[in-house]
Symmetry: C2
């Protein structure tokens, strides 16, 4: 690795503003929600696909490993950090052009640096009939980055990988290809039909290190005539199990077409405030009696379900009836549409002072920010849960986890969508959290008709070294447990990437064979998912 | 290539019943709906995945190229024929075990040789709450084969690639891997969540030659509470264009969740009988006046739309209202549910004799076999259109295109789902059909909210050498035209596989690099989609 020579060439290519290797910049990129991030050797800021192709060739010439990122908001899974120290970050944030919005066919073509806030605002101002499915990661997170990690949102277009097409990829040899039909000159269907012809390559470029994705098509949702949000409060694990089994057939029947979000009491508390450090004089974990007091105070269930029905008033009425029927004997379902939420919160505020409706108001207040997500509006409010164990005040108007120095790690097993499996995963993970004195902050999202994506937060005080160490051990034990028990995660953090494929297994060897053939020097993101 | 030595070893592995190289067998596998198929060197019949792994190793040892197929019903695209002569067919028909049906999570795990009739019957008898999405290729066609070609059916699970997971693959080196989470021991989510963790490989193994797929999970549809089929008769191309534009928003809104099938008058005629050879004394193509007479006689539209709404009676009522509203001023929509179809056809038969209802009866009769597909019942009736130009009587109870010696080739461009593009593709292809004196038999299926999969049949009399030659030239010209105009096909026949990737383009080179790395000898299906 001849970094110095490479930096000179990169500076020639990108200008001095396109290359940074000063301590302050490197410190900034080394920040992490983990106790310790990794530190890059330099940071590059290309402005075009051609820049990317050229900088890859320079990297290859000097054996410098590159770590491309879209916006670096991969919080809880490694942030902007490469898998190992000394890689050169390729920050694509300057490549943030919205190249096309096709209103008829409902897609956008965007560069890798476009944020969900940016595209969402652009649509609102220019194409109000179209909606972007967004994640809870706030307006500054990248759309392409999330898609490549196979992240998910909350509308019927929640599966971002499936809802994207035509990836422009800078390969490790500096060649540029476009997936799907994009390799055909003048193809009119590159952003209409994902698979193209011949082997479908999109999947290969997600959760991998086979190239730098610089551009892609993103399918957009038509603004629905009517969205009916619903909330269900479940009193215990038994009702959770029955609820999962009751919701599944509605997913299968296509009556519920979008993700259904199920969070436990602790996860809901974490969204409303930090751990009560003062009250407990530093004691951990949260004692049972205080947990129960908080549940009552916040009108929470042991589990809290939020989802939405998309359609017309007429069709939504039909689905509403089925949902109520399915939940009969399990729990009551509350329905909210946008109009009701806007006026209802005010009215409920009044009735509450009169002594009733408190629970409903709490529910409406809780649903309100979620409703933003259900309507494709990215909201920074959903990040706050990650600061649960922080002893600091959250910065004013800035819930950025790194700026706030929040400590958390995410473990995200996929579980078959049955009540039985939902309970089994809890039995596996809850004792591990308890052992290390952490609260199990857990969500289970019915991402498809068959799978729950669980996101479990190991939240810790990053300014307490002992607690930080415990968090790592707890995380590692959780990760090992979910693999051992047959619930591998839908994505994972840089700390665990070397653990997902059994060493020398035919599967690992197959991935390594492909990696070696297209990137013999290991230039792109060494160690990222692929074990090379 | 040392075939003799390989045959000896394969016979040792599979027994004499597992290997065939007699003239009669080779003739049988060389049959094609094209004027000329390719001829294999031998045919192997493995019974297990282990057989496949072992026979691949033998093939590698003797440099014998293999051509795996599930059932060989790839009619119109190459049938059971390899891309070139002299490959050794691996017929997986003996691997036809239904390994698991999971009723809760609605999936089946099947071997490659399972037919759609077999699984459909099995579900009806053992799991009547579950439905398999089927294609129009009849009960004997393979599910896995169709999925790997990214074929499509007619229910909300019509996109077979998306609705499958956990592929077991015998690699060219004889190693066996399972995609998605299947590489994790005891993973409970292999057939619940397609992507797994790390690069998602399913797409790589479709329309390619990177391995032999021996097993996969197939998602099943829950039997809907209510299915409401609809039919629309469009009088001309202008109404077709407006109809496509009117249906698209309903697809986008998720109100119409399944494929919508749109066929022209000629395609509809071909489903009802052969070309009127006698009446025309051998003259081609069909004269305009006779075409109009037949349209009238059969109560056809210039374009004929069939689709279905899936849900409950209540939600279907809401969608029905939207569909009628969308089609206002374009055409009337007729609705049929199963009960109506069963009794209605009888009643209409009576009213027709009284002099009215003829058009409705014709429509109900036309919808009835389509309704089978909409309900997941594979029907052989849909194959008959492929015999349009045959001068022979169709064999009794046997619509197998090869047994009937039917001549046809399919060209299947993907077109953005807009009325404008629908008309543009017609302007491109119709003159080519006319030039060669063939009838443009055309369907356009709204397979997603953004794309029409067009299937265009070049039907010809396989027993007429001059017409056969014209068919090939017509097909080649059509294929070149759709590529040139930017409408590449969603799949293609063995005749065209060398034409889909521009020679030495970065995309072709990338595919070749992968192929070479995992199959350096080119053992698996040389030339199949991948240009090596």
């Amino acid at each position: 690795m001849n970094l110095k020579a490479a930096l000179t060439e990169w500076t020639g290519l990108l200008g001095t503003g396109g290359v940074a290797s000063d301590t302050q910049t490197l410190d900034h990129y080394a920040r992490s929600t983990m106790p310790k991030g990794t530190r890059p050797a330099a940071v590059l800021y290309p402005q075009t696909t051609q820049d990317c192709a050229a900088l890859v060739r320079i990297a290859a010439g000097h054996h410098c490993p590159l770590y491309p990122l879209s916006r670096g908001k991969n919080w809880g899974y490694g942030d902007a950090c490469a898998v190992s120290d000394g890689q050169v970050i390729v920050d694509l944030k300057k490549m943030n052009r919205i190249i096309e919005v096709n209103e008829e066919l409902a897609y956008a073509v965007i560069e890798a640096g476009v944020t969900q806030g940016q595209l969402s605002d652009y649509l609102l101002n220019n194409h109000p009939g179209l909606i972007l499915d967004v994640t809870g990661a706030g307006p500054d997170a990248s759309i392409v980055g999330n898609t490549l990690e196979r992240g998910f949102g909350h509308t019927p277009y929640g599966d971002h990988f499936t809802m994207s097409a035509g990836y422009e990829v800078v390969l490790p040899d500096g060649n540029v290809i476009t997936t799907g039909f994009g390799h055909h000159d003048h193809a009119k269907t590159t952003y209409c039909y994902k698979a193209g012809i011949g082997p479908s390559l999109d999947g290969l470029f997600t959760q991998s290190n086979f190239g730098i994705i610089t551009k892609m098509g993103v399918f957009l949702l038509s603004r629905p005539a009517h969205v009916l949000a619903f909330a269900i409060i479940l009193k215990d694990n038994n009702t959770l199990s029955r609820c999962v089994d009751a919701l599944r057939p509605l997913r299968h029947a296509g009556l519920l077409q979008s993700a259904i979000h199920i969070g436990n009491d602790l996860r809901a508390m974490s969204a409303r405030g930090h751990y009560p450090w003062d009250q407990l004089q530093g004691q951990t974990p949260l004692p049972k009696n205080l947990r129960e007091t908080l549940i009552k105070k916040m009108s929470l269930g042991a589990w809290n379900v939020v989802g939405a029905i998309y359609g017309t008033k007429g069709t939504n009425r039909g689905v509403k009836r089925e949902l109520k029927k399915a939940m009969r004997g399990i729990a009551r379902v509350k329905f909210f549409d946008e109009a009701l939420l806007k006026t209802g919160i005010k009215i409920l505020g009044v009735t509450r002072r009169l002594g009733f409706g408190a629970k409903l108001l709490e529910m409406a207040n809780a649903v309100s920010p979620v409703f933003d997500l259900l309507m494709g509006r990215p909201s920074p409010k959903h990040l706050s849960g990650a600061g649960w164990r922080s002893r600091r005040e959250t910065l004013k108007d800035n819930p950025d986890p790194l700026d706030n120095n929040w400590g958390f790690l995410w473990v995200s097993p996929v579980v078959p969508m049955t009540g039985d499996h939902a309970l089994r995963i809890l039995k596996i993970v809850e004792p591990v959290f308890e052992k290390y004195r952490f609260e199990p902050l857990i969500t289970m999202t019915a991402i498809t008709a068959r799978a729950l994506d669980c996101v479990m937060t190991v939240a810790y005080d990053r300014e307490n070294p002992a607690e930080s160490q415990s968090a790592l051990t707890c995380y590692d034990e959780l990760f090992a447990a979910i693999l051992r028990e047959g619930y591998p995660p839908y994505r994972c953090g840089i700390r665990s990437m070397s653990k997902i494929f059994a060493d020398k297994s035919p599967y690992a060897v197959f991935l390594q064979t492909i990696k070696t053939s297209i990137d013999p020097q290991g230039i792109i993101s060494p160690g990222r998912y692929v074990p090379l």
